[in-house]
Amino acid sequence: MECNEFAQRLDDLLDGRLHALGRKSLQEHLARCPECRNRHEHAVAVLENVRKLTPPALHPGFIDQALSRATRPAARAARPKWRPVLGMALAASLVLGVALGVFLATRPDPVQAVVLTIDQPETVRLMFNSAKPLKAATLSLALPENVELVGYSGRRELSWQTDLREGGNLMQLPLVARGVATQELVASLSHGGNSKTFRLKIDVDNTGRSGM
């Protein structure tokens, strides 16, 4: 047997798809050809390492939420949408009212500010510009008192695991103020033991309330 024939039949060998005679012929070739032996070892090692990859744990509560969203159409509206790139169109369709469209340059200083009107959801957009693709970065969000992320009523701290692509990544936060807010929204992005924090001052305009 020649090396090129061995290479052609390597997959069958890896999958145990050879009859006894074919296997014997390949094994004889392996015994006398160090190059094909290396090729075989490499192929086995790559496969084993791919098999060893384990997915990160599901977010707690995902199974309950996913089943609930599937069976209750009303629950679908609360589907969280923090998605770089793909989620953009979906998120826009979830936002009630007109998107405010605040694009923040991602510099830590000065602190950017956004004005919300009580009980009027508005989308704040943050653009993250990443120098390289990042797998499984963690985004944490700490919301000021009286400010909610639409669909996460009553939750002040939220976190997601997500991938960032190289270049611009758009995060859309549909926010709604329930009262006067005096603190900042803090978003932290972490990956591989490093983290970066962004602060956003939220001013609440409650003048519209008097007419309600």
């Binding site: 997959d11 999958d15 290396n38 070892e41 490499h42 086995v44 090692a45 790559v46 496969l47 084993e48 390492n49 791919v50 098999r51 990859l53 997915p55 990160p56 599901l58 977010h59 995902f62 199974i63 996913a66 089943l67 969203r69 599937a70 069976t71 679908r76 589907r79 923090w82 998605r83 770089p84 790139v85 793909l86 953009m88 169109a89 340059a105 991602t106 510099r107 653009m127 993250f128 510009n129 990443s130 120098a131 990042l134 797998k135 499984a136 997601w160 695991q161 997500t162 991938d163 692509r165 270049g167 611009g168 758009l170 992005l189 990956h191 591989g192 490093n194 983290s195 970066k196 962004f198």
Partner: protein, 191 residues
């Protein structure tokens, strides 16, 4: 199937059938996409699509391979949709903006940080990312989940020859992207 099950609300039947499968679907979805967010979205989309078909689900004997097929189709569709989406163009680039991740390690960092970033897991994930969706799926379903090519031929309604060729190319590409060296010393699997 028990008549009692049929008489129950669709929500109960659906949850009974699918709850034990969600984790499996997520695992497979993650192997397809390499991303937790994408995997969760994929599973969610599949569940939403399947709920109206609860009665049909009740008739299926081997649910898991059937679900794997639905997931695969949804995955391939979503990749195609994404490829067509103008959203990518809208958000790529962003020239002139300061990089918010400049505190993250770069190639100029020390050897320890470098080693962590280029860990084996990341290298393998990057290599898998370079496969096309069909190749990635056949690796996930055959090499990892253990479906035979004959099973996949039926499940994916794809000819055996096509699957063999996809698998061959996928493995060849992975070997090219993952040279021998990273798998040396203790990582190599003994025959």
């Amino acid at each position: 199937m028990s008549p009692y099950r049929r008489a129950r609300p669709a929500e109960s039947n659906f949850e009974d059938l699918l709850r034990p499968q969600v984790e499996y679907l997520y695992r497979l979805a993650w192997r397809f996409t390499g991303s937790v967010a994408d995997a969760e979205d994929l599973v969610q989309d599949v569940l939403i699509k399947l709920f109206p078909r609860t009665q049909e689900l009740l008739e299926i004997e081997r649910l898991r391979p059937w679900l794997a097929r639905v997931l695969y189709n949804q995955y391939v569709d979503s990749v195609r949709q994404r490829a067509r989406s103008p959203i990518v163009e809208l958000v790529t680039g962003a020239e002139g903006e300061e990089n918010p991740l400049d505190a993250l390690p770069t190639a100029k960092d020390g050897p320890e940080a470098n080693a962590e970033r280029t860990g084996q897991r990341e290298r393998i994930l990057r290599a898998l990312d370079r496969l096309n969706p069909e190749q990635r799926a056949v690796v996930a379903m055959h090499d990892v989940e253990g479906y035979s090519l004959e099973e996949l031929e039926t499940m994916l309604e794809t000819p055996l020859g096509t699957l063999k060729s996809r698998l061959h190319r996928a493995r060849q590409r992975l070997r090219a992207l993952l040279p021998m060296e990273p798998f040396s010393v203790g990582e190599r699997v003994k025959d």
